[in-house]
Amino acid sequence: MEKYRIDQSKGLEFGLYTLGDHIPNPLTGERISAEQRIHEIIDLAKLAEQAGIDFFSVGESHQEYFATQAHSVVLAAIAQATNKIKIASSSTIISTSDPVRVYEDFATIDLISKGRTEIIAGRASRIGLFDLLGYNVRDYEELFEEKFELLLKINEQEVVNWSGQFRAPLNNARVIPRPQNGSMPIWRAVGGPPASAIKAGLAGVPMFLATLGGPATSFKLSIDAYRESAKRSGFDPSELPISTAGFFYAAETTQQAQREVYPHVNQGMQLINGRGYPKQHFAQSADTRDVMNVGSPQQIIEKILYQHELFGHQRYIAQMDFGGVPFEKLAKNIELIGTEILPAIKKYTAKK
């Protein structure tokens, strides 16, 4: 776990992530400017750090209703504005980028942040960027696998010899600057069915698992498949960290939390996926067995501890800003996390 900078004696790591969505507030119909949204994301990272939150990450989506296409640039600003919080991408679509450039960027952010940076590489759940950046979506899987392999190789070796289908070969190429400690944690972002989790396990790469909604036990299948395939591939699963990522919103009571966040989640889904979030499913998500962490601080603590018992994961990251949630609500959430949720979670998950 040290290789991935995870110290289990401190308990489950708690982080925040944003997709960088830029969506009108459904309650007012108004949308803040991209400038304001980006500054609020940077401010959010600062607040998170002050509240003792372990991790903050920003994603890239290249389409309408998003503002952090250049997510590494936003992360560089966050690196400069913070001192101790870990920062990462959530996720970097390695399929449509050059792994050398991505590594140069993130190694630089790691130097700016003095060793706090990680990369989470994903395959994209929204595929608008394939057209925009000149890639064929039919190569969806192969683009990711090949470029992710190269990214991992660059992380392991400063001088790289490599050839593949989608990029010019590298002959004794030095990829610099190097991160502060020579390499940095690189995770594979996994969503949906276990197939992708199995690939992460076979490669012995840490896994970020998207767990947006539904029974926690469903996601346990992907986690088991991941550990099983890692073992089959000769890796020790106890050395490979797992993180989950999903919707989060806290308020004084569970009812209030649901009431405040539902319009945002519903509108966000409607605008980005073309279908809202069904109220019936959202109502069920209040159940402790459902993976969505929306509720009172007490309810969320119970949920996260239940998930931790089930998954044995090392990090959970919360998406609470989806769908135009106004900044003052986000600040209030961070306060509840810092004062009520974090202390309880750390207390009960610290490994002795």
Binding site: R259, N273, G274, R275, P278
Partner: protein
């Protein structure tokens, strides 16, 4: 209430003829309803390539978005080679998982032979159920002999179409009302 009729084939005229009668009946009985007919023969719809339905452009984008905005959908389809036509299956493939959640879907079928009667039960309904449609269970099955030169000549078919329209609207109204009452109780 938004009602979309789909004429699911680019071959022949019988399904379109039957859909014309059907939507005329909707217009007469429910003048407040907003009715759109999508005759696939009139659109240049591309094959599904896996992207989100929001990202299709041109005719394909128009067809997918119109269907996704509907409250009720009346599907008219012929039967080819003991199955639904590829053009209709392509529409389903273009749409997302759970695309018909909270939508009512009813069906009208034209076929050259009564041997095709159960194709709807065995092949069309499972797709609609998988996509979460509220299905009007009874469908109208029209045979070749019920048509003559682009007109329906069997009075019984008129009555059956009338009942299909009534059932489609009734289920849409009832289901929408019940769902809204249920959702109001959630308090969020």
């Amino acid at each position: 209430m938004k009602i979309v009729g789909i004429s699911g084939s680019i071959v022949g005229s019988k399904t379109r003829t039957a859909m014309n009668y059907t939507l005329k009946s909707v217009n007469e009985k429910y003048p407040a309803a907003e009715v759109t007919l999508i005759d696939l023969a009139e659109y240049d719809v591309q094959f599904s390539d896996g992207r989100s339905y929001l990202e299709y452009e041109g005719d394909t984008g128009f067809v997918t978005k119109t269907i996704m905005e509907a409250d009720a959908i009346i599907i008219g389809t012929p039967i080819f080679q003991a199955s639904i036509p590829a053009t209709l299956k392509n529409i389903f493939d273009l749409l997302p998982v759970n695309a018909f959640r909270d939508k009512v879907v009813s069906m009208l079928v034209t076929a050259g032979t009564p041997k095709h009667y159960l194709i709807v039960e065995q092949q069309l309904k499972p797709i609609l159920a998988y996509m979460k449609a509220q299905i009007v269970q009874t469908y109208v099955f029209i045979e070749e002999k019920d048509f003559h030169r682009k007109e329906i000549v069997n009075d019984d078919v008129f009555f059956r179409i009338e009942r299909l329209v009534e059932d489609s609207i009734l289920l849409t109204e009832t289901y929408t009302k019940i769902r809204k009452e249920k959702e109001a109780k959630y308090d969020f």
